[in-house]
Amino acid sequence: MEKARRLWVRLAWAYGLLLAFGVFFVGPFAMGFLASLKANPLEWPFSFRFAQVSPKNWVAAWRLGLEGGGNPWLGGMVPGREVVLEVAYFSPEGQEPTLLAQISRRKPGAGMGAVFETPYAADHVRLEGPVRVEARPAQLGDREGMVYRYRLRLFYPGEGPVLERVPLDLEVPRGVVLVGASLDPTRLERRGRVASWDNVVPGLLGYVFHNYLRAFRETRSLETGESLFLRWTLNSFFLAALKVLTTLIFASMAGYALARMRFPGKHALFLFMLFSMMVPAQVTFISNYLVLKDGIFGLSRLFGVETLLNTYTGLVLSGLVGAGAVFLMKQFFESIPREVEEAALIDGATPLGILFRIVLPMSTPALGALAILTFQGTWNEFFWPLVVLTSPREIYTLPLGLLSFRNAYGQVGDWGLILAGGFLSMIPVLVLFALFQRYFVEGPSLGAVKE
């Protein structure tokens, strides 16, 4: 009896802790993700039932995207296509409401989207209808009335550009209620009188992940028109990959030298390295900044570069390898039995040969852990790139891009886009952790020593 009670108590503790972890760590991510899908991410109280999670809308968005632009995923509208949308309204007096429909000329209010002139759907797409297709008596709550169903046909005749989105507004008199639509509207405005669609040909991804799509579509370079968000992501990948590579090479070489070789001043060097780990970056950044500003004491002028600010060369040179990485590798190499190397030494291998052909292949767990930590560190690095990279916007890394997102869109309360950007920036690190997690589980001591 006592045993069973203890078991239950233990289980309760375990599940309670898991639940607490779930709520504190996974909860915010899940809520953030859900909010990033919503048209109004600040909706309060938070509801779990909104248009973007309803399968009915997924099907409709897929169909409309396919009909409008032949692209069920990303939607859009091309010449010669037509789409049909149905809406149903409840009218309390049983009197048929007047329904005003129009394709509005809508422009983003913030960010680069506010400056770019994109083709307006209103100039190209013709709207036919609304045509009444059904009228039947119905009850809404305790009110008696009629439900009217209308069909709207959007037709894109002749020649013209590919339209990324076709907005639509439907206005009814006060008191008439929208009770159904093939695709739920993005928002209801003017106290329910206006149902407004940001895009009636969204495609599945365009509907569910519209904020994500906007992140790519709306932030474009004014010079070239290319997507800045994509560019920032690629920049971050490039920098992270480069830094992983240099860190792995230099940290293992330096770590090996410190762990195994004998040379004068080795201990002093090691102590100095430890010391450099303890100085916060905020202390040295001004001197580092000035060194980069002058192109490393004017050295860069030999290559015709006036300053290393606003260049990747500057950013990479100032962070080729961290002392922490060298320290990690040194500790790991010290755990490898010397006998392995001595055998190679007897066979006539050089120190470099030993490092690259014997020690490093045995060090995959440490290298894996180092790679993933470096990648994550570089990917998320914010302060130093913020100082070094100011212009043009094309050279930003993703965290800087997200900051400019926050400045541009946060000011107008457009948090969906910012959440979406933040979420996208998190994915690579998550993927990396999923792929490399076994190196963490195995730990640095395994792998090298097999008894």
Binding site: W44, S104, R106, K107, P108, G109, A110, G111, M112, G113, A114, V115, D169, E171, R174, R187, E189, R190, R191, R193, V194, S196, L222, E223, I286, Y289, L290, K293, L309, L386, T390, S391, P392, R393, L400, L403, S404, N407, A408, Q411, V412, G413, D414
Partner: protein, 410 residues
């Protein structure tokens, strides 16, 4: 021989060719405006003079960045200066006076209120690039539904309050105004009474006029004409307005971009802030930003040319037509854009006129070198009274004591 000479001249020409002028401002929405402006207007004008503009928008804390860059000697040739901290920057001598580069006529083409805001000890330190004032923006649907006439420019505090109270009583789920405890909004009402932030000795005195505005403003919630913004889950009056939680908002033209995304179909109108029933005047703030010249710049002549191009009539027209900001030239008052029958044009027109005589007692949003420290006691007093934690007497007494310490009175 001739060919060599030609080649040499070409090489020399190329070497001398381009003067680079670096300009900076904050990032965010301004990046789009300035990049567009440079690409479509400014650079074209400057190409003939072989000046190349390099634009570096700053994301993050711009003020801090600018002060650091000016001390490190890496600051650009031209940069934004916000009226809020302009005086403390001009006092450092790091900004070059512009009197040598701009003739009297050129300066007079800008709105005098704005020019005055960037004049320090008789010298001009910045050309206002654009500005904003406050206006009263109202939701036509809500007033129609409550069957209350729209606010208009003859409204006094009392008549406006009456309208707001009626909307709030009749619609139940809507506030008249959502009230914020912020001098950036309340101050306009205090100015209407004739009260000034600083007297001749540089002291702040919260006199009877101030008290009258304070009592009216903080009492709006109690009298059923407004709700406290925090109680509605919003931080600014525009947020309440966009979500149709409040019938009016007191904001500047920046609200247009917000509403374009948040509520594209909202039917709104704009009018001036209400008049003080006693003085029959209104008050307003000017929020403005200038382009200023770095005193350590190596090519001031070229930078001054860029400055002129950035604030030229063509440049301002471009900005105005995109509805991105309100430019600072006097002549734009007659601009056809303001007469367009759209809600955004009306908003921009009222905001533009808010800085002129129609705006009443208009003061720049700047408090000597004290900045935000000066506003803090007043904001705290506003919050304490609106939430019912302190009486008006107590709150004003404490605010006065804090301001006395700050301005060295007594």
């Amino acid at each position: 021989m001739k060919r060599w000479l030609l080649l040499a001249l070409t090489a020399l020409g190329l070497a001398m060719a381009q003067t680079q002028v670096r300009i900076s401002g904050w990032g965010g929405p301004d990046t789009a405006v300035v990049s567009g402006l440079l690409k479509e207007v400014v650079q074209r004008q400057l190409d003939r003079e072989n000046i190349r503009v390099v634009y570096e928008p700053i994301e993050g804390d711009y003020t801090q960045w600018l002060f650091n860059a000016l001390s490190a000697g890496t600051a650009p040739d031209l940069f934004y200066v916000d009226i809020f901290w302009a005086e403390s920057l001009f006092a450092t001598g790091r900004v070059a006076p512009l009197d040598a580069y701009f003739s009297r006529e050129e300066v007079q083409a800008f709105l005098p209120n704005l020019v005055q805001a960037f004049t320090y000890r008789g010298r001009l330190y910045g050309i206002p690039k654009d500005f904003n004032t406050l206006a009263l923006i109202y939701n036509k649907d809500l007033f129609d539904e409550a069957q209350v006439p729209y606010p208009h420019q003859q409204d006094t505090w009392d008549s406006l309050e009456g309208k707001l109270r009626q909307v709030q009583t009749r619609l139940k789920d809507v506030a008249g105004l959502c009230l914020v405890a912020d001098f950036a909004r309340f101050g306009a009402f205090a100015f209407a009474t004739g009260w000034k932030p600083f007297d001749a000795q540089g002291h702040t005195v919260l006199d009877q006029n101030f008290r009258r505005a304070f009592e009216w403003y903080t009492g709006l919630v109690r009298r059923g004409a407004a709700r406290f913004a925090q109680d509605l889950g919003e931080g600014w009056t525009g947020g309440c307005f966009g979500g149709e939680k409040a019938a009016v908002a007191i904001e500047g033209a920046w609200i247009a971009g917000f509403l374009r995304d948040k509520a594209p179909n909202l039917r709104y109108g704009t009018t001036f802030l209400p008049l003080d029933p006693m003085t029959k005047r209104r008050g307003n703030f000017v929020f403005t930003v200038s382009w200023s010249l770095n005193a350590a710049s190596k090519n001031k002549e070229a930078a001054a040319r860029v400055l002129k191009a950035l604030t030229s009539p063509q440049a301002q027209q471009w900005v105005l037509e995109r509805g991105l900001a309100i430019p600072s030239r006097k002549a734009l008052a007659q601009n056809p854009y303001f007469q367009r029958p759209t809600k955004e044009a009306e908003l921009n027109r009222v905001v533009f006129l808010g800085s002129t005589a129609q705006g009443g007692n208009v003061y720049p949003f700047s408090f000597r070198g004290l900045g935000g420290d000066w506003m803090r006691p007043i904001n705290e007093a506003l919050a304490a009274v609106i939430t019912g934690q302190k009486s008006v007497d107590q709150a004003l007494r404490e605010a006065q004591a804090a301001l006395d310490r700050l301005t060295g009175r007594r």
